[in-house]
Amino acid sequence: MAPEFVVGAFKSESAIVAAAGKLRAQGRAIHDAYTPFPVHGLDEAMGLQRSILPYFCFAFGLSGLATALGFQLWSTVVYWPMNIGGKSFSAVPALIPIGFELTVLFAALGSVATLFALRGLSPMKTVDFSEFGSLNDRFVLVLRAKPGEASQLSRDLSSLGADKVQEVSAR
């Protein structure tokens, strides 16, 4: 079976950013990159589209605010009205702290859950291509190879400074 991926491991973040930019300029599509820490500018060099995560974050935040305001108004106006310091039952300033807290809570937990769902992360998940050292000190670039293209991609990666290049079949 023909290799599906070509993997190159780089020694530095500047090397992987430069390589990703050059490969994209040559029209190669980059499957993914694995690095020990977030590399500034790599997302741009890889041509990653903007994540849809912020929209989820905003929606979760709004739902947190709606939950907080809704529950407080229901409890203090409808279900159990109480006179506190002669203030109106629906006095808005008193609702804001809880509203703020639940906005942050829903937005934060919702964003993390969405991130896990979008990236397919779970406790049993193993790291792809971990044998190339992306959990240690290597910056790993993975290209998807069309049939017959793999050996050319390997040469390209080597010439761009990858110190370890390997063709990997589907996994």
Binding site: H40, E44, A94, I96, P97
Partner: protein
């Protein structure tokens, strides 16, 4: 001694000088007719433009202490913003002349009802506190800007490390001195009212205003050919700063309002009764909308923070909102109805013109970029996450 054209051409600069002179004459006449509004004008304009200088210093110091490299490319902008500091000190001196009209505690016979506060709320203590503050700030500004400019010639990388120590000392000194100054200049307009959150609140506005002004000046200079490497990532960071500190300001504004509204104690609530009730209420409730809600929603998307025109527009809007906030702190204490006299408007105009002239002079008197700073290359190739 211009090495480069600065922000403005010679004709623009002389036009601004004319604006400053005319505004100063109008101010003098208006202040003569109504000294209370004259005092309010000096206070609002003096504090607002001093805040831009002081906030620029806080920005520089915070970046230096955090060893942040990204703003090095345009660091001469906050450095030049400190050029207004001596004018701000002079404005405080003029304020002392108006104190009797503006501050109830400076009126004759005030010590009778001031009680234990009389010793602090006096012209002597007021002048002493401001003098200590201004002296410290001007010395620190001279030192920080001077070290950075000396590095241009010497190329000595250890200057950056020593600047870190000076910056750390400045942040501590500034926090203490500005706390007292905000109490004296603004909170003492209502001598019997106190709020422990007030200095924080004023500081939040100060930093937000300075960030907005720095953003505007950086973009204008970029449009005139300075900082060719200024990119979307620098602008995105500036936008994030503006966004974050609108939230910080709103947090403090609301914290102060909520606690006083909830406990409803007559001594405390008097500050808000004159603003959130009565004729001022529409202006008062406009403040959280203009200072928080609009900039918050506007700056949510990345594109608006990173694109030059939207960042410039948003920063200018925030600057206007900062003036509104300051007007709401000052004006209700001298007028029961929403008012902004001719004196205040003339003082703000004169302040803006003088601030820009002082900025331009300071900016043109040094190289536009700190070329020998160890972080300059990092800043020129800055890419965010």
């Amino acid at each position: 001694m211009r090495r480069d054209p600065g922000l403005m051409t010679a004709s623009e600069s002389s036009a601004l000088k004319a604006v400053a002179a005319i505004a100063a004459v109008v101010f003098a006449l208006a202040a003569y007719r109504s000294p209370v509004h004259g005092g309010a004008g000096v206070l609002i304009a003096g504090v607002f433009f001093s805040e831009l200088s002081l906030g620029a210093m806080v920005f520089m110091a915070a970046q230096s202490v955090a060893a942040a490299g990204w703003p090095t490319l345009f660091r001469r902008v906050p450095e030049a913003m400190t050029g207004f500091l001596p004018v701000g000190a002079a404005a405080t001196a003029v304020l002392v002349l108006f104190a009797g009209k503006l501050y109830p505690w400076a009126a004759p016979g005030a010590s009778a009802w001031l009680g234990d506060r009389a010793w602090y709320l006096s012209l002597g203590a007021f002048a002493a506190v401001s003098a200590v503050g201004w002296t410290a700030w001007i010395i620190f500004a001279r030192k920080l800007v001077g070290m950075s400019r000396a590095q241009d010639a010497s190329g000595d990388a250890s200057v950056t490390r020593r600047a870190k120590l000076v910056s750390a000392a400045f942040l501590v000194v500034f926090a203490l001195t500005f706390t007292f100054c905000s109490v004296d200049w603004l909170m003492s307009l209502e001598p019997k009212w106190t709020s422990t959150l007030y200095p924080w609140y004023v500081f939040a506005g100060l930093f937000e205003a300075a960030l907005a002004a720095m953003t505007v000046l950086t973009i204008l200079l970029h449009r005139r050919g300075f900082f060719p490497e200024l990119n979307d990532h620098h602008r995105h960071n500036l936008g994030k700063y503006l966004f974050a500190f609108t939230c910080f300001w709103a947090y403090l504004w609301f914290s102060q309002y909520l606690l006083i509204w909830y406990s409803d104690i007559p001594d405390e609530v008097v500050h808000f009764l004159g603003r959130s009730e009565g004729a001022w209420r529409y202006v008062f409730w406009m403040n959280p909308i203009a200072s928080f809600a609009i900039p918050f929603l506007f700056f949510l998307p990345v594109k608006r923070k990173a694109a030059e025109s939207t960042l410039l527009g948003g920063a200018l809007f925030i600057l206007c909102a900062r003036v509104l906030d300051l007007v709401i702190l000052v004006e209700p204490t001298i007028s029961a109805r929403p008012s902004l006299g001719l004196a205040e408007i003339a003082a703000l105009l004169a302040g803006a013109a003088i601030f820009l002239l002082a900025f331009d002079r300071a900016f043109a008197s040094a190289a536009p970029e700190p070329a020998k700073d160890p972080y300059i290359e990092e800043s020129r190739h800055f890419a965010g996450v």
